[in-house]
């Protein structure tokens, strides 16, 4: 087991290096210029000398290999430099937004799990009944309706019915729980619903498969209570693929809630990423992509560990 863990950790190094190289090259291939956008974006009369001077200040006049070497050396020492747009340290820009994104991802996954697991199990147990159909319609709607659209409708409903809209700035959980939840519960519900739909369908099909297994029949024939059969024997085995889904979704939620963050005006990692891409803020985009890749690697690793915990066969292999 220890050897396995060490191997996995070592594998992250080439993975992250690959990601860093790809994103560096991609950003340079995409047309656009951060300096032009900043100085000519609103039509100002800015001379070519200013543009050249600013490009030099940002190091954009250096050869690409030099830019890459400087950046990768910094990243290896966990020094991601400063944002080309704001001049502020990237670490502080990201840290500022990470708390909100993390909390939202956790809340959305909890909501998704609380909805998906019971509904998926119920749907499997009651397969072919009206309850099953209702749950399936509910989950298909969750897949079909884009989260941002549900978000807009939800805000309009709050405005029309209660003449109230969620706060527009983030208050950390530790500062004011009520204010914090009154802002984040809505996007968490919207995103949680979307992901519960995927997980509900996954739980249902996994449960249906497991319920046909011999060991379930054996458990029932031993005279175990149905609830014990379901929870200890069926659900525990059915959860393996569901955990994978939750793990990957969680990693995605940390940086991928681009549109939902815009609709609810959340100052999160997704919004920061989009703004950085639009501005061609190379250093910021590179750091964010590397961060997201690291989160994916870490979450995958944790999911594999969870597999081992849930399925002893994996542990002993």
């Amino acid at each position: 087991m220890r050897r396995y863990i060490v191997q996995r950790i070592l594998l992250t190094i080439p993975t992250l290096l690959g990601v860093a190289t790809i994103i560096f090259v991609l950003m340079r291939v995409v047309p656009g210029d951060i300096v032009l956008l900043r100085y000519a974006g609103e039509g100002a009369f800015v001379t070519q000398e200013t543009i050249v001077q600013e490009r030099a200040r940002l190091g954009l006049d250096q050869p690409l290999w030099r830019q890459f070497a400087d950046w990768i050396w910094g990243a290896a020492q966990l020094d991601f430099g400063t944002s080309m747009w704001t001049g502020r340290p990237i670490v502080s820009e990201v840290a500022l937004r990470f708390e909100l994104s993390l909390q939202l991802a956790v809340m959305a996954v909890i909501i998704a799990a609380l909805v998906a697991v019971p509904l998926g199990v119920l749907s499997a147990i009651k397969a072919g009944t009206s309850v099953d159909y209702l749950i399936r319609v509910f989950s298909i709607l969750g897949l079909a309706l884009p989260s941002f659209w549900v978000g807009i409708v939800l805000i309009l409903l709050l405005l029309s019915v209660f003449h109230w809209s969620p706060p527009v700035t983030f208050t950390p959980l530790r500062v004011d729980l009520g204010e914090n939840l009154s802002q984040l519960i809505w996007p968490a519900l919207v995103v949680g619903y979307r992901y519960s739909a995927v997980a509900t369908r996954m739980t249902r099909s996994a449960m249906l498969e497991v319920l046909r297994e011999d060991y379930i029949r054996t458990a029932r024939s031993k005279g175990l209570k149905e609830s014990v059969v379901m929870v200890r024997h069926a659900l525990r085995n059915a959860l393996l693929p569901v955990i994978t889904v939750f793990g990957l979704e969680f990693a995605f939620l940390l940086g991928g809630l681009v549109v939902t963050e815009q609709v609810f005006n959340l100052n999160g990692i997704g919004k920061l990423t989009v703004e950085a891409v639009v501005r061609r803020d190379y250093t910021m985009v590179q750091a964010l992509v590397l961060l997201m890749a690291s989160v994916f690697v870490l979450v995958n690793f944790l999911v594999d560990m969870a597999y081992a915990w849930l399925d002893p066969r994996i542990r002993f292999r």
Partner: protein, 555 residues
């Protein structure tokens, strides 16, 4: 906007999509009624009511400041949160725009030859750190704008460097501006909202100090800035104007998405957004909030301009360019578009209604500005034929990926050009590659824009100067006639004679040569909480943002 769409640098609209939109637009125009008056309450003024002290104003800013330096930045996103912390030498009078009033300057005089401007500063002005402001601070500020030290960017350096010889501070209360040549626009330029007066000592220690620090003499002291979230300011008890500001503080919240901005105003999370909303958003707010919302509107010193790359055929032919402007029925377009987008007025290079605007009688003589649309279109067809351009000639209109008002205006253009036998597609580009293409001449025709802080020919005409002089002349032409007229009008201090020169310039640029031409001028629409008083709309979203006179009425 999704990451996916950002990754795509170009999106070409299919002819079918454009046609469908154009059809909708035409249908809308056909049944166009004058836009319903949006329950407009006249902006209450401090003179009409007793201003009430206290409270915090929350306003929306649609983007974020890249840095805090007014001399460097060019975006309203920097001005709106930072302007309340600073003073200017002069400023525009919000109640009498375009009149100028003193801000730090109490009085001023101009020498007979128009080459020396002397300003006397007010007494008792203090920076937020307690230090007294002197003429040396004003001098250091303008020296930084005109001749920035190494590593400092001064975005408007060119506007001043051509005119200003030097700035002197003979005593702590006197500032003298010596000019190389007379300038009709100097006083207005000294009221530029970008020219925050900085502390000389801070600049001497670190020339880039204002990029990351706030230290002004304005009505509000800096509170906090949380990037991506908000910016706050608190009342400056030592502000030199006694009894001001009325507010205890302000909070600027950064909200990028238009629907989220509207929801914030509607839900009472913010009281105002100073840039502007669209007519449908205005209607939504008026319908939802009734008397709790007040709408202020003004023509805006911003316009979308059709730029043509004169280095490419057939855009190098004035006949073809003239045909393109003739094909546009701006008057009908205005009726339709003003219901869905914040564009409205028909005008030449100078904003309609502004002191230098061409009167309608003269304007309608310019190609594409007349009221007989059928005759203009027939003439356009004739010119296209004369230029040797075949029926059904196709080209791409490069456009920016900002939906409002770029998208509806582009659809209008494509529809109008379709009516004279041209097939135009829309190439929508992200802002950054869009600017790169325009500046690099990698386009055929494009929807460009011109937006300034005041109505001033020196600013609005600069786009038409020879490409060697003007980096924002994306048409890439050089016309010595325009260059000469520009210089003449700039030196002319007699307003009436200057006006004539400006009109001459407009006739040459828009009619004879049709290098570039405006579409419709923007209309600034500000629906705000009726609690907000003492703020009056001006034709620019860059002006009047220091919040000195703003106060909040009781709910």
């Amino acid at each position: 906007m999704s990451l996916g769409s950002n990754g795509k640098s170009t999106r070409i609209w299919s002819g079918a999509t454009a046609a469908l939109l154009a059809f909708g637009l035409t249908a809308l125009g056909a049944c166009a009624q004058p836009a319903p008056a949006p329950a407009p309450a006249a902006p209450p003024t401090a003179a009409a009511e007793q201003p009430r002290a206290g409270g915090q104003l929350t306003f929306i800013v649609g983007a974020e400041p890249p840095s805090f330096d007014g001399h460097r930045e060019t975006t309203f996103a920097m001005l709106h949160p930072t302007a309340p912390h600073y003073s200017l030498l002069l400023k525009f009078d919000q109640n009498k725009y375009p009149a100028i009033m003193g801000d730090l300057a109490e009085t001023w005089s101009v020498s007979q030859d128009g080459l020396t401007y002397t300003f006397k500063l007010r007494d008792g002005i203090k920076f937020h750190d307690g230090a007294a402001l002197t003429a040396a601070d004003v001098k250091a500020t303008y020296d930084r704008i005109v001749a920035p030290p190494q590593g400092v960017v001064s975005s408007r350096q060119a506007s001043y460097a051509a005119v200003l010889e030097k700035v002197e501070a003979p005593d702590p209360k006197t500032v003298v501006f010596k000019l190389k040549q007379p300038s009709a626009a100097l006083l207005s330029n000294l009221a530029s909202p970008w020219n925050f007066i900085y502390k000389a000592q801070a600049l001497a220690q670190e020339a880039r100090f204002p990029e990351k620090n706030i230290l002004g003499t304005g009505p509000f002291r800096f509170g906090e800035y949380v990037p991506g979230s908000h910016w706050t300011g608190t009342k400056n008890p030592d502000y030199f104007q006694k009894g001001r500001p009325y507010l205890d503080g302000f909070r600027a919240v950064f909200i990028r998405e238009a629907s989220a901005q509207v929801a914030a105003v509607r839900g009472g999370r913010a009281q105002i957004e100073f840039r502007g909303f669209t007519p449908p958003q205005r209607e939504d707010l008026v319908k939802a909030l009734g008397k709790d919302i007040t709408v202020q509107e003004s023509p805006w010193v911003c316009v979308l301009v059709v730029s043509m790359n004169t280095e490419k055929k057939p855009f190098n032919d004035p006949k073809f360019r003239r045909a393109l402007t003739l094909a546009l029925d701006r008057w009908e377009g205005s009726k339709a578009l003003s219901q869905i987008a914040f564009v409205k007025e028909v005008g030449a290079v100078m904003r309609p209604g502004s002191p230098f605007a061409m009167p309608e009688q003269e304007l309608t003589k310019l190609a594409g500005f007349g009221k007989d649309a059928a005759a203009a279109k027939a003439e356009a067809r004739r010119l296209i034929q004369e230029a040797g351009v075949p029926e059904g000639f196709s080209f791409a209109l490069t456009n920016r990926d900002i939906p409002m008002p770029y998208e509806p205006v582009a659809v209008f253009l494509i529809d109008q050009w379709g009516k004279v036998g041209l097939k135009v597609s829309q190439a929508v580009r992200e802002s950054s590659p869009y600017l790169q293409d325009l500046r690099g001449g990698n386009y055929e025709a494009a929807l460009d824009f011109n937006c300034d802080f005041m109505d001033e020919p020196d600013l609005q005409l600069i786009k038409f100067l020879p490409k060697e002089k003007s980096p924002i002349n994306y048409g890439r032409y050089s016309d010595p006639v325009l260059d000469d007229l520009y210089t003449k009008q700039s030196l002319e201090t007699n307003p009436e004679r200057r006006k004539q020169l400006v009109w001459q310039f407009e006739r040459r640029a828009l009619d004879e040569m049709a290098y570039q031409f405006p579409t419709l001028w923007w209309q600034r629409i500000i629906p705000h909480s009726s609690q907000v008083r003492g703020w009056r709309i001006t034709p620019s979203h860059y002006l009047n943002q220091d919040l000195t006179d703003v106060w909040l009425a009781e709910k």
